[in-house]
């Protein structure tokens, strides 16, 4: 009976926490990558710039023009950082003095006053290169000449670093995500635990436990518990009202019925004519019938109500049967019926609802007394048959006259041979429902020599 329409709180909480963790992990990855990439570029630029400046420092002017003594340290610094290829060009204007003369010059004009080099990236020989360029003015032939020094380097090293950093960043992001996932599960569990505990505390209650809930709970659950307690209180009040109503109604109906019956009996004692007698007998029979129907309906309602939430207490069948037998003795005596009991001293215990079992047994006894002819015997026996307790009520009455058991246990159904005896047709229905609720069965049979045997089979224990 679980409603699954709404997503469970736990699922919702976990999903939202996971989404948050994923977003954080991605952000972390992107940030680390960007920052690390920038840092790598800056470092490599620094080295490239330093090498360029070192070369530029070696520019010499003379009478025969510009000369340079390429410093090997500059190239070995560059080589020590990565396996990148290095290109250089030293040019005066558009004329290359030394180096690769297809290495493009910077797009804009460099000022000779600039101490630090200018960096730019461009495609060169099927790859991207980073170029550092600086301009120096050298006196050649006593005339100032602007010399541009360009050093280019492929970026394999930087890419390798970037890839390594990206891997680390991804690993870090995944790690953070996994940790967050575990933490979100734990959080969801601990946040929802009070709700589970509350549900368990309410669910564990007995069927007739209508006390208000005072389970220690976090403040957020207090409104729910308050509402639940309000509901329980209303339910309790409604049940009490119904119970009071039934009791009151029974009282208000039965007391006047009792008065009618008493007055009718008195009138019958004094009646002179046969006609008056017949009328009064009919009145008394009707009173009896309505009273009996009312009791049986009430009993049936009780059986239905209690069967749903069956009490599980040990019931001593011997004692129960003896009590019922004793309470029927005066009624049976009125018809000179003897009630004989058999096997009640044996300790036979079943688990169930004492009231329901008593109700079932009383109905069987009531039938036996009603349908027995006078001067006969009713036998109630208790025994254990094939691991089941068997309580049987045998009478010497008119039997079942071929009507089957399924028919007789139907509500308001009565045998065809009992029209002259007052009855409601609910007795065997009650018996059948009580035994079924206890996991047992009712067995109706006829004696060869006449009479009915109604046996209850109930599981022991």
């Amino acid at each position: 009976m679980k409603r699954t329409g709404a997503i469970s709180l736990r699922k919702r909480l976990v999903l939202q926490l996971l989404a948050l963790a994923a977003a954080l992990a991605v952000l972390l990855y992107v940030t680390v990558r960007t920052v690390a990439g920038d840092a790598a570029e800056e470092t490599l630029d620094g080295v490239l710039g330093a090498a360029t400046l070192a070369i530029a420092d070696e520019l010499r002017g003379g009478e025969d023009g510009v000369s340079i003594d390429l410093p090997h340290e500059a190239f070995s610094i560059l080589g020590s950082i990565s396996q990148d290829r290095i290109f250089y060009r030293i040019a005066v204007g558009e004329v290359t003095v030394t180096g690769y003369d297809d290495l493009p010059a910077p797009a804009r004009k460099l000022g000779s006053g600039l101490a630090s080099p200018v960096f730019y990236t461009l495609p060169y020989r099927q790859t991207q290169v980073r170029v550092a360029a600086v301009e120096r003015v050298v006196l050649a032939d006593n005339a100032p000449v602007a010399v541009t020094v360009m050093v280019a380097q492929t970026r394999t090293g930087q890419d390798t670093i970037a890839a390594r950093v990206a891997n680390r960043a991804a690993g870090l992001g995944l790690g953070v995500f996994a940790l967050a996932a575990i933490l979100s599960m734990i959080t969801a569990g601990s946040v929802l635990r009070p709700i589970d505990r509350l549900a368990e505390a309410v669910g564990r209650r007995g069927p007739r436990d209508l006390r208000s809930v005072d389970h220690p709970s976090p403040a957020e659950l207090v409104p729910l518990i308050t509402a639940l307690n309000g509901f329980i209180a209303r339910l309790r009040a409604a049940l009490t009202r119904t119970e009071t109503f039934i009791t009151e109604a029974a009282h208000h109906i039965r007391t006047p019925l009792a008065t009618v019956r008493a007055k009718a009996e008195i009138a019958l004692r004094r009646a002179e004519t046969e006609e008056a007698r017949d009328t009064l007998r009919a009145v008394i029979r009707s009173v009896e019938e309505s009273a009996r129907s009312a009791s049986q309906l009430l009993d049936h309602a009780t059986v239905v109500y209690r069967s749903d939430r069956l009490a599980r207490e040990p019931v001593d069948l011997g004692k129960l049967v003896a009590g019922v037998a004793q309470s029927f003795a005066p009624t049976a005596e009125l018809k000179d019926l003897a009630i004989r009991t058999q096997g009640l001293e044996a300790a036979v215990t079943v688990t169930g609802d004492r009231l329901l079992l008593e109700s079932a047994l009383r109905n069987l006894m009531d039938n036996a007394v009603k349908y027995s002819p006078p001067d006969e015997e009713i036998l109630i026996s208790l025994e254990v048959v094939d691991g089941l307790a068997r309580v049987a009520v045998s009478d010497r009455g008119r039997g079942l006259s071929g009507v089957n058991q399924a028919e007789l246990t139907r509500r308001f159904a009565r045998g065809g041979n009992v029209r002259d005896i007052v009855g409601s047709g609910l007795g065997l229905t009650i018996v059948d429902e009580v035994t079924a609720a206890h996991g047992g069965r009712l067995d109706l049979s006829e004696h060869a020599e006449g009479g009915t045997c109604a046996a209850l089979f109930l599981p022991l224990g």
Partner: protein, 221 residues
């Protein structure tokens, strides 16, 4: 027997009292628990008939108070509550028996008798007539020092006849008293019990006569 009936419906109380008096019992009526206490302090009773819904309290509280004070006058609860739970409840509280309204007077009497017999007490109301004594409580007639057991219907038949010796009771009248209204019996069914009772009374001076076309009467000699 002397009954105290604690019942708040005056109408019902009056009818029940009248009906019990017809059978020769004395009945006092208390409409509330307070009245009941007054009656109990003034006179001894053989049996209390107790309703549960009373204007000044629950009959069960009265039951508990009586049993706690060790006043053990037999109490039969007479109630409109018919549930099995109610029955078990009052018996546990110390009631001797339980009848549901509306009740059959024959059954009420049978229950009273059973309770008194079980308690082994109560004033013994032994009747004497034409050479035999009759004790309704023990269901015995004694003729020439020889006790004979009466079955329930024989006993009730004898009670009816002895209440008015020499008066003629019709078959229908006797049937109404002897058989439950819940079963339909022909008036001739009474003949069996008349014959049995005659046999039980053999040897005494009493005779049960058939008055042709009218009924039966008991007379001495």
């Amino acid at each position: 027997m002397r009954f105290l009936m604690i019942e708040d419906s005056a109408d019902l109380a009056q009818s029940v009292a009248e009906r019990l008096r017809l059978d020769g019992h004395a009945v006092d009526h208390a409409g509330s628990l307070a009245d009941a206490e007054d009656c109990l302090s003034a006179a001894p009773y053989d049996l209390i008939l107790l309703d549960l819904s009373l204007p000044d309290g629950d009959g069960r509280d009265f039951l508990i108070r009586q049993r706690r004070a060790r006043r053990d006058v037999p109490i039969i609860v007479m109630t409109a509550r018919a549930g099995v739970a109610d029955r078990v409840d009052v018996l546990d509280l110390g009631a001797d028996d339980y009848v549901t309204k509306p009740f059959d007077f024959a059954e009420l009497e049978a229950r009273c008798r059973a309770v008194l017999r079980r308690r082994g007490g109560a004033t013994q109301t032994v009747q004497r007539f034409a050479g035999f004594t009759f004790n309704p409580l023990t269901a015995q007639v004694v003729i020439a020092n020889e006790p004979r057991e009466l079955r329930n219907r024989e006993l009730r038949l004898l009670e009816i006849l002895l209440a008015a010796p020499d008066r003629i009771f019709s078959k229908a009248q006797l049937c109404d008293r002897l058989f439950s209204y819940a079963e339909s019996v022909s008036d001739n069914a009474i003949e069996v019990y008349i014959a049995r009772l005659r046999k039980k009374l053999e040897g005494s001076g009493a005779r049960i006569e058939t008055v042709r076309g009218l009924g039966y009467r008991i007379s001495a000699g």
